[in-house]
């Protein structure tokens, strides 16, 4: 008999909850570890682009460990509801493959495996869900981000709607054959499927053991108590903000299918007394003939990311309990709302989603100085593109997303932008590729990768600078790089007087060494000797740059993040000494004059 049983009878829910929530998070972490260590594609085993979560039997999000926010806040709940709707009788040994963006998934490239955790009496107690971004999902082009797709048919992804891929713990070979025949590099897909399956089965095993150990009723009590605790924490966090309402504009760059770009209006209302935050996204244009439309999961989640980022209180657990204090208003057939079939949501997790999250966090800064954030850098420059071709070393085809250099962290009220945040919905949880690993696994060569000075969004807390990466195929290889870069026109805007982050950019280096600028949404074909130059977007700054601590500006100059000229012009800081002998110092008198004049 375990000691925990006795403890559960103790009156303090605070103790009981703390213990079980440690267990739940531990289970989600085990699921993640399995997927990361065993997956075959770089996007999973190097970049960590996946999430593992636990939901209650009534489909409420309970535990996420450290999953990508855009993957998980809303969506897993909707998908489990569809599983229940289409399969009213769930059995132990079932597993469902789901990736329909019209039914809760983020975008078609995110394959989800959903397992109902069914006890010995046949009662569904929980769901475990693992969502993994595929290296390929059968699109008409070798990329999982079809920015220019007019509709889901041109996008071309195989769409699975709660398709039962395992019964009695055995694969449904019909679905396996479908995937093998319509997904590029099928062995890679198969290996990733096994890794994802391992994750959900480990989650199932652990939850069954937990239920046996402490009883299903106790676990259900825990879930409700945990949701209540989370809601209370959310109310407290919101109560620290002043009430207010503001409408903020943002917008995605022009892309194929949307020649004028996509303007985004978000209206954020904080009601501190009632402990509620509302985000209204209904005043926006209809779905567009483009892959940029948001799925419902991404639209709701993107707005919520802006809120959770803006609260600056990470002790609020992001789960169904704290979600009760948030209202996201969406509209059917809206580009940032609930998409209507057959509009494509191929790029829903990143580009336009960030254009919802970032104005929300900036709106909170406007309502409540000291909270909120500047805008995070927009993404998907070529260094985060999908590469494909034939590997001359093995003669085999390859397709994979790379993460060779993306930055973008926004200035916050308390810290400078986190360098490798990647994009707002990712929160920096994905990794950056090792040059050696990429050169070993793909027929590519990285000539250069470095941070660029003077590209940070200036501010009291500055944004992250841009990163430049240059790469191309090795001898004997022709490589296609497909990418969907936002932020070549619209930068990440600063908050409360902070400056914008540097723009994203893309070039092709020709055989003669000259550079040709490339469009934002493009697939570039590179022959041996040619390279693509990728520049990621910087993050916006928070607060007036002239208010930045002089020591911090000096540190930025010494470390080469900013030039002495920019320090003087933008931050009002004069330096003496020289970098060569490491004697740079603050010229206090000149700085006082510069800052007094500001």
């Amino acid at each position: 008999m375990s000691i925990i049983t006795k403890t559960l009878e103790a009156p303090a829910t605070g103790v009981r909850m703390a213990i079980i929530s440690n267990r739940m998070e531990g289970i989600a972490r085990k699921m993640q570890n399995t997927l990361f260590r065993t997956a075959r594609s770089g996007v999973l085993n190097t970049a960590h682009d996946f999430s593992c979560v636990i939901l209650t039997a009534d489909c409420q999000l309970l535990a996420t460990a450290e999953s990508l926010p855009i993957h998980t806040l809303i969506g897993p709940d909707l998908m489990c509801q569809y599983v229940k709707k289409y399969h009213p009788a769930l059995k132990a040994g079932d597993c469902y493959l789901h990736n329909s963006p019209y039914e809760g998934d983020s975008h078609a490239a995110d394959h989800c495996l959903i397992v109902p955790v069914v006890d010995e009496q046949g009662i569904t107690r929980f769901f475990v869900l693992a969502k993994a971004h595929q290296a390929d999902c059968g699109n008409s082009q070798p990329t999982t981000y079809m920015g220019g797709a007019r509709d889901v048919f041109e996008e071309g992804a195989l769409i699975f709607s709660a398709a039962k891929i395992q019964s009695g713990y055995e694969d449904n070979q019909d679905l396996i054959r479908m995937c093998r025949s319509r997904i590029r590099v099928p062995e890679q897909w198969w290996g990733d499927y096994l890794a994802t399956l391992g994750a959900v089965r480990i989650g199932e095993r652990e939850l069954l053991a937990l239920g046996k150990e402490i009883g299903w009723a106790a676990l259900e009590d825990y879930a409700e108590a945990w949701f209540q605790y989370s809601e209370d924490k959310m109310v407290q966090a919101i109560s620290r903000l002043p009430s207010g309402k503001v409408t903020v504009q943002s917008g995605h760059d022009p892309f194929p299918g949307v020649p004028n770009g996509i303007p985004v209006n978000v209206t954020v209302e904080v009601d501190a007394a009632a402990g509620r935050i509302t985000v209204d996204l209904t005043d926006n244009i209809d779905c567009q003939p483009s892959g940029l439309n948001l799925s419902e999961g991404c639209a709701r989640t993107a707005a919520m990311i802006g809120i959770y980022n803006g609260l600056i209180d990470h002790s609020v657990p992001p789960n169904a309990g704290s979600f009760r204090r948030v209202d996201i208003r969406l509209r059917e057939n809206c580009v940032v709302g609930i998409p209507s079939h057959p509009h494509s949501c191929s790029v829903a997790t990143t580009n336009l989603a960030d254009r919802v999250s970032t104005p929300v966090q900036r709106a909170i800064a406007e309502i409540a100085p000291g909270f909120g954030m500047a805008e995070t850098g927009p993404i998907m420059p070529p260094a985060m593109g999908v590469i494909s071709g034939k590997d001359p070393r093995s003669g085999e085809s390859f397709v994979n997303q790379i993460f060779l250099g993306v930055t973008g962290g926004a200035g916050t009220p308390v810290t400078d932008g986190f360098l490798t945040i990647i994009h707002c919905g990712n929160a920096g949880l994905c990794r950056q590729d090792s040059v050696e690993v990429d050169e070993l696994h793909h027929p590519l060569f990285v000539t250069d990768r470095r941070l660029l000075a003077d590209t940070e969004g200036a501010g009291t807390q500055r944004g992250a600078p841009s990163m430049r990466a240059e790469f191309g195929p090795i001898e004997g290889c022709t490589m296609k790089v497909i990418y969907t870069a936002d932020g070549t026109i619209n930068p990440a805007v600063g908050a409360l007087g902070g400056g914008p982050g540097g723009l994203s950019d893309a070039f092709k280096r020709e055989l003669d060494g000259s550079l040709t600028r490339l469009p934002g949404c493009y697939g570039v074909e590179l022959k041996p000797g040619e390279t693509v130059v990728s520049v990621s977007a910087g993050g916006g700054g928070y607060g007036e740059p002239m208010q930045r601590k002089a020591e911090s500006v000096l540190a930025d100059v010494r470390e080469g993040w900013i030039s002495p000229e920019r320090a003087r012009e933008v931050y009002g800081l004069a330096v003496s000494g020289a970098a060569e002998d490491d004697t740079l110092a603050i010229d206090a008198a000149a700085t006082a004059t510069l800052r007094a004049g500001a």
Binding site: I3, I4, A12, N22, T46, G191, H314, Q432, E436, E439
Partner: protein, 685 residues
């Protein structure tokens, strides 16, 4: 006579092994001059034996030392001013790292600073390709210009890490020659020589850390060996390494990164010996409880699992050492961990710690926050009048008062129930740490024995073991100085690795066997050099392998020293599938396997039978009783037994307390404790 000395954050532990007998001594650590603490411990020992310290030291033939010197220097920023030389085009390897972040909505933690600042980073024109082919030759003129800059900047150490030096080291080697010639007296580290591992960030990080420690560790080890010699010691000085082995102090001075995790790495060595002796070679979870941290490591099939990802500080927020080391999971939970109630009414324990100053409330040294130790005193587990053998009197009432005000009243609990809850939660955190490492390494805790080491281990080791469903708990007789005891048992060892990529489909027999032969030759040279005179030499081969297109290798023991034919390869493949299944629940039997890095480890055994025993002590049996509290029983009058006076194989049934001068073991209700023939305390449920 052999001496093992472990300098920790609070105490300097010394174990004296004289023939088949060991004795334990503890002195305070002296951070301003740690060698003084070592000498103080030696003085205590000499006094115990009634000898002059010079005579005492003259009898010792070996001094084995573990120290937190290197790790503390890193944590406090007191390492050398180090420059980083990198391949042109890739200046930000240490800044970009490998990405990754924890706590997605926590924006209060800034992005980590690079280990070497950008202003001390220099690009060297050169480039080698993944194949080893030289794409851009090393520009020596440019390299010399950089060396001039290093002079101007007065750097004290240099780290060199070029892309693909693990495949072709010629540029790094030449750079080393140029540094030796043109920047004499400034130590440097070359990445391929230190740590030939794939992934430039972790290799560069290892290189930078190593270089930055060289001036400091050279001085420290020089001072230690000199002062030991002056004090009369004429034997061999060895250092324990993060790899769980021991190396000559001079060798560690040449690659000081090996000493950064030296303390915790020794605990599993001791744990392995004690489990083999008292639990018949069971799998073991080795938990070392200190004042602020709880370190967990494992023993499986007589092997101690390693990790490739060792961090100094938190994952993604600290620095990766880039070096394989004994897989130790450390969490902030110990006797000093502070209990608190958050603004949502949730009980928390740690990660803040009261440390040794001000320490727990009951120490009366100014501590105002209730700690795990305070709770143990409130519950009667620790006798306030017999702490550290009665050398320190504790204030139980002060602890009760603070716990009532800060925890019990806020949760609506009695003081004792609040204290019990704090211990339960601390237990749960420890269980979480154990769960993570056991799952990572594919061990089922229910088949394993929990070894409790460290002075505070006994407070909840039984609770942790029972909660995990372990086969039993063992508190070794030298458990309170587990790391120092482990040092006495370790082999003189070295580890060699070479990358050679091949696949199961097109297995490169000849090249692989050439690599294995080379590794074996290096092991042999070591055995005949530093390992000369060993009782026994073992060389173990392993390979880091993965399924085709996976990227994270797992270490597979080879069993064989060569792969001669298809049958050998088949056996290797089977071993891989089995290891993969054990760790991850799945196998892919039809998939090709990629073999990446080949390893050989040579271990030279210098002592049979692990270590000696504590001599039996004539202490009055002192069968005493005192009230202690458990949630299950409420206050109960439990028997109190002196550990030293327990005869072998006479069971003590919980609830009970077993005390020694170094530790207190809580025997929970319904569990049974037994002194083993070997002298340890074995608790089963």
């Amino acid at each position: 006579m052999r001496l093992a000395c472990d300098t920790g954050g609070t105490f300097t532990d010394l174990v004296v092994e004289n023939g088949e007998e060991i004795r334990l001594f503890k002195a305070s650590t002296t951070p301003d001059d740690p060698v003084r603490g070592v000498l103080n411990a030696l003085t205590l020992a000499a006094e115990h034996f009634g000898e002059d310290r010079t005579d005492f030291l003259a009898r010792a033939d070996m001094f084995i030392h573990g120290t937190t010197r290197a790790i503390n220097a890193i944590l406090t920023g007191n390492t050398a001013r180090t420059a980083f030389l990198t391949t042109e085009g890739h200046p930000d390897v240490l800044v970009i790292r490998e990405g990754g972040r924890i706590e997605p909505f926590n924006f209060t933690v800034p992005y980590p600073e690079p280990y070497v600042p950008r202003r001390l980073t220099f690009e060297i024109p050169e480039r080698i390709e993944a194949t080893g082919n030289v794409r851009t030759p090393l520009d020596e003129a440019a390299a010399l210009k950089v060396i001039e800059k290093l002079k101007t900047l007065k750097v004290e150490a240099v780290a060199v890490c070029f892309l693909w030096s693990i495949v072709n080291a010629e540029h790094e080697k030449r750079m080393g020659e140029l540094l030796a010639e043109h920047l004499p007296g400034v130590p440097f580290t070359l990445s391929h020589a230190l740590n030939p591992t794939l992934r430039e960030y972790r290799r560069a990080s290892a290189t930078a850390i190593d270089a930055s420690l060289k001036p400091l560790m050279f001085d420290y080890l020089d001072s230690l060996t000199r002062r030991l010699r002056e004090a009369g010691f004429a034997g061999r000085t060895l250092m324990v390494t993060s790899g769980g082995g021991i190396m000559d102090a001079e060798a560690v001075a040449r690659a000081p990164i090996h000493s950064i995790n030296s303390g915790p790495a020794m605990a599993p060595i001791a744990g392995r010996f004690y489990t083999d002796r008292d639990f018949d070679h069971a799998e073991a979870i080795v938990a070392d409880t200190g004042g602020t941290t709880y370190d967990v490591s494992l023993v499986r099939d007589g092997r101690i699992p390693w990790t490739r990802e060792t961090w100094i500080g938190q994952r993604f927020r600290g620095h990766m050492t880039g070096f394989p080391s004994v897989d130790v999971k450390s969490i902030g939970a110990g006797g000093g961990s502070i209990a608190w109630v958050d603004d949502g009414g949730l009980l928390r324990v740690g990660p803040q710690s009261a440390g040794s100053t001000p320490g727990p409330v009951a120490y009366g040294k100014g501590g105002t926050e209730p700690t795990v130790t305070d709770c143990s005193i409130i519950l009667g587990y620790i006798d306030p009048d017999f702490f550290l053998g009665g050398t320190m009197v504790l204030d139980r009432e002060a602890a009760r008062k603070v716990l009532k005000e800060k925890i019990a009243d806020r949760l609506g609990l009695s003081v004792e129930e609040a204290a019990a809850s704090v211990l339960t939660l601390a237990t749960e955190k420890m269980v979480g740490a154990i769960d993570e490492i056991t799952i990572n390494q594919g061990i089922d805790p229910s088949n394993a024995v929990l070894i409790g080491g460290g002075g505070a281990a006994g407070l909840n080791a039984v609770a942790v073991g029972r909660r995990l469903g372990c086969a039993g708990v063992l508190i070794p007789e030298a458990g309170s100085v587990l790391s120092a005891a482990g040092a006495l048992m370790s082999d003189i060892s070295s580890d060699y690795a070479q990358m050679h990529y091949t696949t199961s489909r097109r297995f490169a027999y000849d090249q692989v066997n050439a690599v294995l032969a080379e590794l074996e030759a290096r092991c042999k040279a070591f055995a005949e050099g530093p390992g000369a005179g060993a009782l026994k030499v073992t060389t173990e081969f392993s390979v880091e392998a993965r399924y085709m297109h996976q990227i994270w290798e797992i270490e597979v023991p080879m069993g064989l020293s060569r792969v001669k034919d298809e049958a050998d390869l088949e056996a290797l493949k089977e071993a891989f599938h089995a290891t993969h299944k054990m760790i991850f629940e799945i196998t892919d039997p039809d998939s090709d396997i990629e073999f990446v890095t080949w390893r050989a480890k040579v271990a030279c055994k210098i002592r049979e039978g692990g270590t000696g025993r504590l001599p039996a002590q004539e202490v009055a049996a002192q069968i005493d009783k005192r009230p202690i509290y458990f949630t299950q029983t409420g206050w109960t009058n439990a028997q109190v037994v002196r550990f030293e006076s327990m005869p072998p194989n006479a069971p003590v049934t919980g609830p009970a307390i077993i005390e020694s001068s170094f530790t207190t073991v809580v025997v929970d209700p319904g569990t049974h404790a037994l002194r083993t023939d070997g002298g340890g305390l074995k608790i089963t449920f």
